[in-house]
Symmetry: C2
Subunit: 531 residues, 2 copies
Amino acid sequence: MRKSAADRFKHLFNRSLVFVRHQNQQHNSSSPLHYRLLSSAHFSSMASDSPFPVTAQNINPQVLQCQYAVRGEIVTLAQNLQKDLQANPGSHSFDEIIYCNIGNPQSLGQQPITFFREVLALCDYPALLDKSETQGLFSADSIERAWQIVEQIPGRATGAYSHSQGIQGLRDTIAAGIQERDGFPANANDIFLTDGASPAVHMMMQLLIRSENDGILCPIPQYPLYSASITLHGGHLVPYYLDEATGWGLEVSEVKKQLEDAKSKGISVRALVVINPGNPTGQVLAEENQRDIVEFCKQEGLVLLADEVYQENVYVPEKKFHSFKKVSRSMGYGDDDISLVSFQSVSKGYHGECGKRGGYMEVTGFSPDVREQIYKVSSVNLCSNITGQILASLVMSPPKVGDESYESFMAEKGSILSSLATRAKSLEEALNKLEGVTCNKAEGAMYLFPQIRLPKKAIEAAEAENTAPDAFYCKRLLNATGVVVVPGSGFGQVPGTWHFRCTILPQEDKIPAIVTRLTEFHEKFMDEFRD
Amino acid sequence: MRKSAADRFKHLFNRSLVFVRHQNQQHNSSSPLHYRLLSSAHFSSMASDSPFPVTAQNINPQVLQCQYAVRGEIVTLAQNLQKDLQANPGSHSFDEIIYCNIGNPQSLGQQPITFFREVLALCDYPALLDKSETQGLFSADSIERAWQIVEQIPGRATGAYSHSQGIQGLRDTIAAGIQERDGFPANANDIFLTDGASPAVHMMMQLLIRSENDGILCPIPQYPLYSASITLHGGHLVPYYLDEATGWGLEVSEVKKQLEDAKSKGISVRALVVINPGNPTGQVLAEENQRDIVEFCKQEGLVLLADEVYQENVYVPEKKFHSFKKVSRSMGYGDDDISLVSFQSVSKGYHGECGKRGGYMEVTGFSPDVREQIYKVSSVNLCSNITGQILASLVMSPPKVGDESYESFMAEKGSILSSLATRAKSLEEALNKLEGVTCNKAEGAMYLFPQIRLPKKAIEAAEAENTAPDAFYCKRLLNATGVVVVPGSGFGQVPGTWHFRCTILPQEDKIPAIVTRLTEFHEKFMDEFRD
């Protein structure tokens, strides 16, 4: 069944390619995920008699084509509903919008880790370090850490541009943290600090993609940053399917089949994206599976782009996070054997510091002249933000046994992670009870990606509204409950199947009400559309 | 004379285009500024028998071609010298490296503005707001401002992703600040907060450039972010020359001539970049001149990309900064008449908070569907960092009369700006005393861009080393004095003329020593090479 589904997917993919070429008569990549958005209705809505020199018809078609569903149409609808609720309280059957569309823990009430914020405040205003009152307000180890960091910055200039890869001392700390995590050496020169993981992904796509004939292997479902970035850089997304039936398993045979298929069409495939733990799919890869992937990339000469931003988010005792760096080194592969980029972010984990925009990529197995090019591109934007840089170093080097903050830090961390595990389980169980819904376990990350088997009548109603069936369901859900989830079509799915992504992030005390609202909505929806 | 020089420049430009096409057989833009770096020596140095799948020969040629001289070769040399000095003190005739290559004030000892840092620390660790000791450590208005800001953030979640354009309340504050500055309305919906001005410039280039046939008019000399961004996005830099003889005057007739010339070659010119106050040239445009530019853009249907990041940095009483928004509104032109993007940054001004990566663009005169596309591209990276967002709001809304911090804030600001004016004048006078050197006044911004008339023997010596003559001079200067300046070839200059860019940022007490070292070096250099 998966084979023919993949073929249907490719048919849509090719159709969209032809369509876009026809519309723009320009070199274009095509993204298989967003064919709906390239409908003629969309294009004909653009005014051609605009008083403005720039119109949607004459901008870069790659921008026009790029989509990012996580903040797409459904979020705009939610924001409008929220304004409506504020202006007219009681106008809807719910009194707040619950944003389950995006992995943004602190927006839903998660509190920041105290130690991290103490250090950031001290580094932002180092004059505090000289004042006696500070002792009463901050923990001893946060003061000590802030001193260390300020001393690592040349001239203690916390407001200066840093080295384009980030402050050397912070990169040393991060490398030591990686080494401790993996048990294999890490080098500060391989670390490029970035404003979250997204700019790092863009940087690698920019480096690798030369034209629409360059392909990047991406899981389907995928996090739409990848499809958006590939589209913006004019490349070709080569999809490989995760197997929903085996808990979103990643089979190298499937990746190989898609690689061969792409090659036969003249696509030069440059890299393989793996998201582990999975987004939106929540699976945690087994080490054995990772070895196969490393071996495959080595054999095929593919860069392995390892999205490891959820490395702290593993909720099941039987699974453990292993970095691809550790796995490849444990196979005896060094810097000359495998080109590997690992992405990490301060936005995820137990800390969820999304707004600080911190992160890094560890770049190994590239020649010195290519590394020089990566450095050059980093230097055009000068450096990533220093607050985010500091936070990235703290995440990779949290308080240790004996530090004054250690116990409170471990309590905060443990409470967040165990609550996330509880929430994941409650929501998964509730979803699996719904008629026609099946949901794999969230072993890790921050999402559930249930499949909804929509009745034919619902699909027809969606089509009558010129809406994808999963988007139709999600909009109905939003309007009925205030809960915002993202249609599966934004992430990619086997054609003819429908899903949505829902974060596990609402606070624990809100979960029962969400479950009730979701269940009631779903029952009514099915009553309305059941075949 | 300028005519024939411009023609020579174009000849080099075209030659480099042909060369790159030949090398890469790919769609390529060409940057006229960096022909030296595309020499065959450079290409042949790339290994073709690399063990790595990614080599300099098979990466995106736009990345390979892009150059950013401000952090280029000369800075790498300086960093190596610095390491050498640390390892072997006394090994050189100077004991420190003075980085005059980049507008990075705090790296050279400028202190941050206290009020700004107080507010940032409180927002980073809002728990402080509830503690009584805080009153003794922070000013009353910084506490009040932090409260205001924290309350403006939905759920007080200072660690959450914000709206993709930035936190609404901060954008309201910024819009109010623009309105106060200009005397014309500003709208928070037009503000896009960004991680410094650089990503904002990239975003506009990405939107406007469809292919190598799309051109962007840029001043020569220019800040190399523009050439780098145009190259990375595959477009065509259309140069217009600033007139050094009239203090780097911007003549609309010259811009028009270059526009017509580009059009006659089939280039579709989409936008005009104006940097005011000028970088690297330091001139401040007269309002009359700005009116002509606005009228020209309106007539020609060009987007006006106004780099206004040095708006606070004006050092001469006879000149005043006027935003292009104010100028266009005062001409009676509204949102339907002119497409205008104004870039602002927290990195410059009197505050110089480079490492915080804050900034915004104010986008006016674009159709709703194009604005939607700009929003979409912003949303792919989720949001800019919150610390930078807060700082951008503070810069546009500093303490006011009656606030506890007002007097100390004004003293800090005044002292920095008046010292910058003094430093600019001292360095300009010193440079003008050197044999064969002429230097226009730095009316604003942070740079001097002196012309050095190099003796023929020096030019020959440079050519023998396969180095541009200005780079040859700058490397000699660095090796002899430890002072890092950037060769004019990194910014563009009339062919056959040579310049360098030097910041005015070393602390005042260091200026006399720098002048002495520079003067001694120059005399020796001239003695060695004088014709």
